[in-house]
């Protein structure tokens, strides 16, 4: 191996006494790009790449725990593709397994409230509820982060109070007011409820984020002659994009997953949202596990995929919302 050889002086005119000097030091060019591995067999390399036994044990424990953690979901997934008889026999029995899409077909066309319609309803409610909350939330958060105004502390306190309140607490008042304004059992009614409920945490979350944006940027824009609204549109909105993405993901998940609000405010089966339909599928005599599993998979797929795609924003937002 050349790397291990004593280095012969490479200069043409290196004198004999240069040898000792050059011997002691390596030249920068002699450092290889990657570790010299050719002289080692794959066996030793493999042995070195395997972590120590303590660490191996740690990995084994960690992977086991993580896999055990999702076993229930694996079961749900398996059950969604198998006929009821095989589910009752145990989805973990793999011999003689038959795969069927019948469960999905049944859930999709469920007679009381087809999931096809329920999923559509969920989208119809969730998307406007998320978009409006984002816009109104960042607008309201801006004065909270930057201006002093009367009642600011009181409003702040009210927001905290609402964040602590259980959704059940606003159900009675909202039920009566939706009845009165004729929005009970409509998309618009549920959307408005979700917007009003979500605004609290969104304003607080975005305010904390906006506080971190240096004020100099706005001052610079003001000196350049921008109005408050221009500053908001051209400086604040673009800079808060990461936080707005976090808000979007978390609020989407919350509205999509919400069960209590639709249960109270959506009474016509053709307006049922997906989470509302799932418990109805239990049936009276024999629980229709296959159909429930297929329906659950279809309902949970949306937030779970969204989480996996925007995992960083979701986690960062979750941590910032409660810990900062």
């Amino acid at each position: 191996m050349t790397e291990d050889d004593p280095l012969e002086p490479t200069g043409v005119d290196a004198g004999p006494d240069e040898t000792t000097e050059a011997d002691r030091y390596l030249q920068v060019e002699e450092v290889p790009e990657t570790a010299p591995t050719d002289d080692r067999t794959w066996r030793t390399r493999l042995a070195e790449s395997v972590p120590s036994s303590r660490r191996t044990l740690k990995y084994a424990v960690a992977i086991t725990v993580a896999v055990l953690w999702i076993v229930p979901f694996i079961g749900l997934f398996m059950a969604s593709f198998r006929p009821l008889s095989e589910i009752i026999g145990g989805w973990w029995h793999l011999e003689g397994m038959s795969i069927t899409f019948e469960n999905y077909y049944q859930a999709w066309n469920y007679s009381t409230a087809p999931l096809s319609r329920a999923l559509l309803n969920t989208f119809i409610v969730t998307i406007p509820a998320v978009l409006v909350v984002m816009l109104l939330g960042v607008m309201a958060a801006y004065p909270f982060a930057r201006f002093e105004f009367p009642l600011k502390t009181t409003l702040f306190f009210l927001i905290l109070l609402v964040m602590a309140a259980p959704p059940e607490l606003v159900a009675m008042g909202n039920y009566n007011s939706l009845q009165r304004i004729g929005l009970f059992d409509t998309y618009m009614g549920l959307i408005l409820i979700h917007i009003g409920w979500g605004l609290g945490w969104v304003v607080l979350f975005l305010r904390n984020y906006l506080l971190g944006i240096p004020e100099e940027l706005e001052e610079a824009a003001r000196i350049d002659g921008a109005s408050r609204y221009q500053i908001f549109r051209t400086i604040i909105l673009p800079l808060s994009t990461p936080a707005l993405v976090s808000v979007a993901v978390i609020q989407f998940t919350w509205v999509w997953n919400a069960f209590f609000f639709p249960l109270v405010f959506m009474r016509s089966p053709e307006l049922y949202l997906a989470p509302q339909v799932l418990p109805l599928m239990r049936g009276r005599v024999q629980v229709e596990w296959g159909m429930i599993a297929a329906g659950s998979i279809m309902t949970m797929a949306v937030p779970v995929i969204l989480f996996l795609l925007l995992e960083r924003y979701y986690k960062r937002g979750m941590v910032a919302a409660v810990a900062d």
Binding site: V12, D13, P16, E18, A22, Y25, E29, V31, A35, S49
Partner: protein, 377 residues
């Protein structure tokens, strides 16, 4: 107390994709103050962490007093370390921070308090012991970190860029303080820095590192007087050494339009300086007329003289004056030689912009580096 030696130590990261250190060979004698000096990313901190035991070498061996220590954990090596950001435990008071290494070793509280008192007095922080680190200034934190490191009388003292977070004045102060401590305690000390001034002022021996290898290990004066490669030459000294690129021809260096430099004088001067260094055969081969190749002629800015007239004898390099920077203590003249800017430190500049000037130097102040950067003369 402890001598350290590294033999062929290499450290690879990312399963060999990255080489942090490559075949380091190094000796630090008992009580010596050794400095790892190099630009950021040269592997000096990794080398320190290998000695600390925070990393284990991929290849090679590390010895403390002839005893092999690689593979041992930091706690089994009796080393103490000061981190770049001091790594003070934010939830403990100054006294708790300093006493922590003793607490871990089960030293009884009374003895602990006594020793904390001693070191805090030694470092002049006895008034701060009840504060939390967050309430301290940068210099005080530095002292707490030092106190924590020396309290248990380690056999090796490791410092990772300890002064880089301080302002210039404090840095100067702590440099003196550190040197005093090291002299007093006489602990083998390894110090990592990218600041050559720190290295030169404190070290008994400097190891200059670049791209994971050691370029030269020498006492500061030798490093300055005899930089082994063009890279070291340019790294040590401020402003850096000027390197004139040229071609060797018939015992001289051809610098194109700027003129030629005769090597004979340079050779003889070096031979005279380095007693027993170079034999005649070597000198002869240097001057042989058939030797060709690109070389760099190095002269430090402080060794250049600037004059407007061509000297009658000796070597002179022709150039045009660019800007002149008055630095108070001296003037720095930027001269353009073959489109290359060189610096000359003169006590008072008597030349003006766009003057044609001749740069002269004593033969013994010139260095000749081969194409590969190695010192020829």
């Amino acid at each position: 107390m402890t001598s350290i030696s590294m033999e062929n130590v290499s450290k690879y990261f990312d399963s060999g994709e990255t080489i942090a250190n490559y075949q380091l060979d190094l000796e630090a004698e008992d009580g010596e103050f050794l400095v790892f000096l190099g630009p950021s990313g040269c592997g000096k901190t990794t080398a320190l962490r290998l000695i600390a035991g925070l990393e284990q070498p991929s290849e090679g061996a590390i010895y403390f007093d002839g005893e092999r220590v690689d593979g041992r954990s930091p706690s089994d090596r009796n080393v103490a370390m000061v981190f770049q950001n001091y790594a003070l435990y934010p939830h403990m008071t100054v006294a708790q921070n300093i006493g922590y290494p003793l607490k871990v070793r089960g030293v009884p509280p009374d003895e602990r308090d006594r020793r904390v008192e001693t070191v805090t007095e030694l470092l002049h922080i006895e008034d701060q012991t009840h504060k939390k680190p967050a309430a301290l200034s940068g210099g005080q934190r530095q002292r707490v970190a030092l106190a924590r490191a020396i309290i248990r009388e380690p056999s090796v003292f490791l410092l990772d860029e300890p002064l880089s977070n301080l302002d210039a004045k404090l840095r100067q102060e702590m440099r003196i303080e550190l040197k005093r401590l090291q002299n007093e305690l006489d602990i083998t000390t390894i110090y990592v820095t990218h600041n050559q001034e720190e290295a030169m002022s404190m070290a008994d021996k400097v190891a200059v590192m670049n791209q994971g290898t050691i370029q030269q290990v020498a006492p500061p004066q030798e490093l300055y007087d005899r930089p082994r490669t063009a890279w070291v030459a340019q790294f040590i000294g401020s402003p850096p050494m000027n390197l004139f690129r040229g071609t060797r021809r018939n015992g001289s260096v051809d610098l194109g339009e700027a003129g030629t430099v005769e090597l004979e004088g340079v050779m003889n001067a070096k031979a005279a300086v380095e007693t027993g260094g170079r034999d005649d055969a070597g000198t002869a081969s240097m001057l042989a007329s058939d030797v060709h190749g690109t070389v760099a002629l190095g002269v430090r800015p402080e060794d250049l003289t600037v004059s407007t007239t061509r000297p009658s004898s000796g070597n002179a390099i022709e150039g045009t004056v660019g800007t002149i920077e008055p630095m108070g203590e001296y003037d720095l003249v930027n001269v353009s030689v073959n489109d290359q800017i060189v610096n000359a430190k003169v006590s008072e500049a008597t030349v003006a912009r766009d003057d044609t000037v001749y740069l002269t130097f004593d033969d013994e102040d010139a260095y000749l580096y081969a194409d590969d950067g190695e010192l020829v003369v």
